[in-house]
C-alpha cells in the first residue's frame, strides 16, 4: 500500500518512546474495558480515542461501525484535537465507497498524502479533501473473526508517515474496541430483553387488576403501543381468528402518529398466504416485501394497499389451536425483524391471549352461573312440577265437567237457568284460578330479571308453602307457618326471595322425609329482627356436623345424590344481593335452622 518512492518528505518513524507509550495504552485499555459497564463503554472508547490522538499526534481518531443488517457504515465515536470542528456521528456509507469496500475485505487504508490514493478511490479522495484530511490510517475492526468496523486516524495539519508497527498495533486496539462494543451490545440486548419482559409483566399486572372489559381494552392498546415503541414498529395489531376459518379480524390496534389507518377489508382473504401460514402456526416476518417467497405473490397487492413495508406476525395458540395473532409492521421504511424477537412477541401475545381468554372464560362462567341459577330454579320447579300440574288439573277438570253439565242442562226442554248461571260462574272462577297458577309458574320460571317491589312477607311465604304443600303432604311432612303480627313490608325481588325460601324448604323436607320418626315437621317462622325481618326454616332432621356445615354454602357442594350443590350458594348470593344474610345452624341429631335476615330495603351498595 505504501509506495516508498512516493514517500512523504516530512514523515519520521515513530520513536521507541511513542511505541512504548502505545503499548502501555493498549495494555491499559485491554484491562480497563474488561470491567466496564455497558453504559460506560462509549465514554471509555471516546476517551481512548482522545489518548491516541494525543499519543500519536494525530488530529482526529474515529471509530466506524458496519451495521450488520442494513450494510450502512456509521461513524460511532470520534475525537478531534482542539482547533478543528468535531465530526458528526452519522452514516458515512456514501462518502467512502472504495475505502469501505477495502476495509470490509480486511485491508487497511494507509496514505501519507492524498495523491497516494489510487484512481478508483476518487470519490473517497474528494471526501477526504473536503474534510481537510492530509494523511490517514484506517484499520478494520475484527470481532470474533468478523469485520464489524474500523479505527481511522487522520492528520489535518500535515502529511505524515504511518509505520508498519503502528498499523499492527492499531489492529490490536481495534480488536479491544470491538470486544468492548460486542460486550456492550450483548448487555444492551440483555437490558432490552429485560425491559421487554418488564413491559410485559407491567402490562400483565395492569390487565389482571383491571376488571372492566373497556378498561382492559385500553390496557391492551397501551401495551401494544409500548411494545411497538420498544420494537420500533409503526403499527401493532392484535388479531382474532374468525371461528375456524382461515381469516382473522382486528380486535386491538395501535398506530404511530402520522401512520394512516389501514383499510379493514384488506386484512381478509387478500392475504391468504399469510393467513394460511399463521393458521398453520408459523411465524411470518419480512424486512421487505421483496423478501416474500414467490407463493406469497398474491398477498402483495393487499400488503401494498395496507402500506406494509415490513412485518412480523406471530400466531398465538391456545390448546394447540391458533386463535389469535399479534403483528408489528412498519409503513415508512423497511426494517429487519430479527428471529430473536419472535419468542418475545409470542410471550407478549401469550399474555394478551391469556387475559383475553380469561375474559372469555369469565364471560362463559357468568353465563354458566346464570344457566345454573336457572337450572336450580327449574330444578326446584321440577321437584314440584307434579304438584303444580295437579294443582292446574283441578280447575281445568272442574271447568270441563261444568261445561259439559251446562251443555246438557241447556239441552233440556225447560233448562234450569239458576243451575246454568251457577255453572257458568263456577267455570269463570276456575278458569281464573287456572290462569293465576300459570302466572305463578311463569313468575317462577322467569330468569335473570330483577324486579324489586314492596313485598308482604306473609304473601311471599304463603305462596311458597302452597307450592310445596302437596309435595310435603305426599311425603308425610307437616309444614307449619308462623308469622309475627304486623310485619313491615320488605323491598326485594319476589321471585328470587321465593326461590330462596323454596330451596330452603325443599332441603328441609328432604331432611325430615328421610327420617323414620313420627314428628316430621318443618317450621317457617317469620318475625322482626332489629331494623329488618328474619325468616327461619327449621327442620327436625338429622342435622349436620361442623365439617358439612362449613361447606354447605360452597358452590357444587352437595350431600344429595342428585343435587348439583348450587341451591344454597345461589340462595346466599340472592339474600346478599338484597343486603341481607343467610346463615345456618345445625348439630347432628338436632335438626337444622336456616336463617334469612333482611333489611327493609337493600342498602345502596347491595342495590
Amino acid at each position: 500500500m505504501i509506495d516508498p518512492a512516493r514517500a512523504v518528505p516530512a514523515p519520521e518513524p515513530p520513536s521507541i518512546g511513542e511505541l512504548l507509550a502505545f503499548e502501555r495504552l493498549l495494555a491499559e485499555l485491554s484491562a480497563g474495558f474488561v470491567n466496564l459497564s455497558a453504559t460506560s463503554v462509549d465514554d471509555a472508547i471516546t476517551d481512548a480515542l482522545r489518548r491516541i490522538v494525543g499519543l500519536l499526534d494525530v488530529d482526529r481518531a474515529n471509530l466506524i461501525g458496519f451495521a450488520p443488517q442494513t450494510g450502512e457504515t456509521y461513524l460511532t465515536h470520534s475525537w478531534t484535537v482542539d482547533g478543528f470542528a468535531s465530526a458528526a456521528l452519522r452514516s458515512v456509507s456514501g462518502d467512502f465507497p472504495w475505502a469501505i469496500q477495502r476495509l470490509q475485505a480486511g485491508h487497511p487504508i494507509v496514505f501519507s498524502r492524498l495523491d497516494e490514493l489510487p484512481a478508483e478511490a476518487a470519490a473517497d479522495e474528494a471526501t477526504w479533501r473536503r474534510f481537510g484530511v492530509k494523511a490517514n490510517l484506517t484499520v478494520p475492526m475484527t470481532v470474533g473473526g468478523r469485520i464489524e468496523g474500523a479505527i481511522a486516524l487522520a492528520s489535518f495539519r500535515r502529511e505524515r508517515h504511518w509505520p508498519g508497527e503502528l498499523v499492527s498495533r492499531l489492529r490490536i486496539l481495534a480488536e479491544v474496541f470491538g470486544n468492548a462494543l460486542a460486550y456492550k451490545r450483548a448487555r444492551e440486548s440483555l437490558d432490552s430483553a429485560m425491559k421487554f419482559e418488564r413491559l410485559v409483566s407491567e402490562m400483565l399486572a395492569a390487565l389482571l387488576t383491571t376488571d372492566r372489559a373497556e378498561d382492559r381494552d385500553r390496557v391492551i392498546e397501551a401495551g401494544l403501543r409500548n411494545m411497538a415503541l420498544f420494537l420500533g414498529a409503526e403499527r401493532a395489531t392484535l388479531w382474532e381468528r374468525i371461528g375456524a376459518s382461515p381469516e382473522f379480524r382486528k380486535t386491538h390496534r395501535w398506530l404511530a402518529a402520522g401512520v394512516p389507518v389501514p383499510p379493514d377489508q384488506a386484512g381478509g382473504v387478500a392475504i391468504a398466504w399469510i393467513n394460511a401460514q399463521i393458521g398453520a402456526g408459523s411465524v411470518v416476518r419480512f424486512a421487505s416485501r421483496a423478501d416474500l417467497p414467490p407463493e406469497a405473490a398474491a398477498d402483495l397487492p393487499a400488503l401494498r394497499e395496507l402500506g406494509v413495508r415490513s412485518l412480523v406476525i406471530v400466531p398465538l395458540t391456545v390448546a394447540g389451536a391458533v386463535v389469535r395473532a399479534l403483528s408489528f409492521a412498519t409503513v415508512h421504511e423497511e426494517r429487519d425483524w430479527p428471529a430473536a424477537l419472535v419468542p418475545r412477541i409470542a410471550l407478549l401475545g401469550e399474555v394478551l391471549g391469556s387475559v383475553l381468554a380469561r375474559d372469555e372464560a369469565h364471560r362463559r362462567e357468568q353465563e354458566a352461573r346464570a344457566q345454573a341459577a336457572h337450572a336450580t330454579r327449574v330444578g326446584a320447579m321440577g321437584a314440584f312440577a307434579a304438584s303444580l300440574a295437579h294443582e292446574l288439573t283441578q280447575p281445568l277438570a272442574a271447568s270441563l265437567a261444568n261445561a259439559e253439565t251446562g251443555a246438557r242442562l241447556l239441552a233440556a226442554p225447560e233448562p234450569d237457568l239458576d243451575e246454568l248461571r251457577a255453572t257458568l260462574a263456577d267455570i269463570v272462577a276456575d278458569e281464573r284460578r287456572a290462569g293465576d297458577l300459570v302466572q305463578k309458574l311463569r313468575r317462577f320460571l322467569r330468569r335473570g330479571e330483577v324486579e324489586r317491589g314492596e313485598l308482604d312477607l306473609r304473601e311471599v311465604l304463603e305462596e311458597v308453602l302452597q307450592l310445596v304443600g302437596r309435595e310435603a303432604q305426599a311425603r308425610g311432612v307437616r309444614l307449619r307457618l308462623e308469622i309475627a303480627e304486623a310485619l313491615p313490608k320488605v323491598v326485594g325481588d319476589r321471585v328470587q326471595l321465593q326461590q330462596v325460601v323454596l330451596n330452603l324448604l325443599s332441603n328441609a323436607i328432604d331432611a325430615v322425609a328421610t327420617e323414620d320418626r313420627p314428628a316430621r315437621e318443618v317450621a317457617v317462622l317469620a318475625g322482626r329482627c332489629g331494623d329488618g325481618v328474619s325468616v327461619e326454616v327449621r327442620d327436625s332432621g338429622a342435622g349436620m356436623d361442623g365439617e358439612t356445615l362449613a361447606r354447605i354454602f360452597q358452590a357444587f357442594f352437595t350431600t344429595k345424590p342428585k343435587g348439583m350443590g348450587l341451591g344454597l350458594s345461589i340462595s346466599r348470593t340472592i339474600v346478599e344481593a338484597h343486603g341481607g344474610t343467610l346463615s345456618a345452624h345445625s348439630a347432628p341429631g338436632k335438626g337444622s335452622t336456616f336463617r334469612i335476615e333482611l333489611p327493609l330495603r337493600p342498602s345502596r351498595r347491595a342495590a
Binding site: 288439573t393 277438570a397 261444568n402 253439565t405 246438557r408 263456577d426 276456575d430
Partner: protein, 215 residues
Amino acid sequence: MTAPADAAGTVFVIDDDASVRRALERKLRTAGFRVETFESAQDYVARAPQAEIACILTDVRMPGMSGLDLQVSLAQAGRALPMVFITGHGDIPTTVRAMKGGAVDFLPKPSSEREILAAVAEALGRSAVIERERRELGSLRARYEALTAREREVLALVAAGLLNKVIGDRLGVAETTIKVHRGRVMEKMGAASLADLVRMSERLGLAPGADPARR
C-alpha cells in the same frame, strides 16, 4: 243424556278440591243421581254414610288418606262399595292395585261427562247386583233359620246327593219320614226343584255335615 232409569243409587264424591267436588256434584245431581260429597277420605270414614245402592267416586291422590287407602280400609271393615277412581297422573302400579282391589273404573282427570256417567252408572249397577244378592242371601238365611234341626240335617244330606233311604239309615228313621222332612224343607226354603235346593245350600256355604246356623 237423560237420567238413568234406575237412578235410585247414591254417589259418594270424595275430592279435596272444592271446585272439582262442586262440579262433580252438579253433574251427577243434574243427571239424576243422589250425591253426597266429602272433602277427604277421613271425612267419608268418619261420617260413614249409608245407602242401599251406592258407589264411591274418589280422587286417588289426596292429602292424608289416599283413594287407595280408603279402598283397603273399607274392604277390611266389610263396608266395600264399588269405587271409581279419578287421577290426574295415573301410573300403571296404582291402576293395577286399584283394579285388584275391585275398582270399577279408573278415570283420567279430566274425563268427559260420558265417561264419568258411564263409570258411575256401571258402579251403581254393580252395587244394585250386590245389594240384590245380599238381600237374597239374607232371605235365604232367614228361611234356613226357620228350619228345624232335623230339617237342616236332611237338607245337608239331600244337598250332598244322598238317597232318601240312605239318609233314613244314616239318621235312624224310616225312609217315609225323610220324605216328609224333605217336602217341608223344599216348601220352607221355597225351592222349586232339587237342583234349586242344591244351589241354595251352596250359597249358604253348607258343606255335608256342616251347619251354617252354628257358624
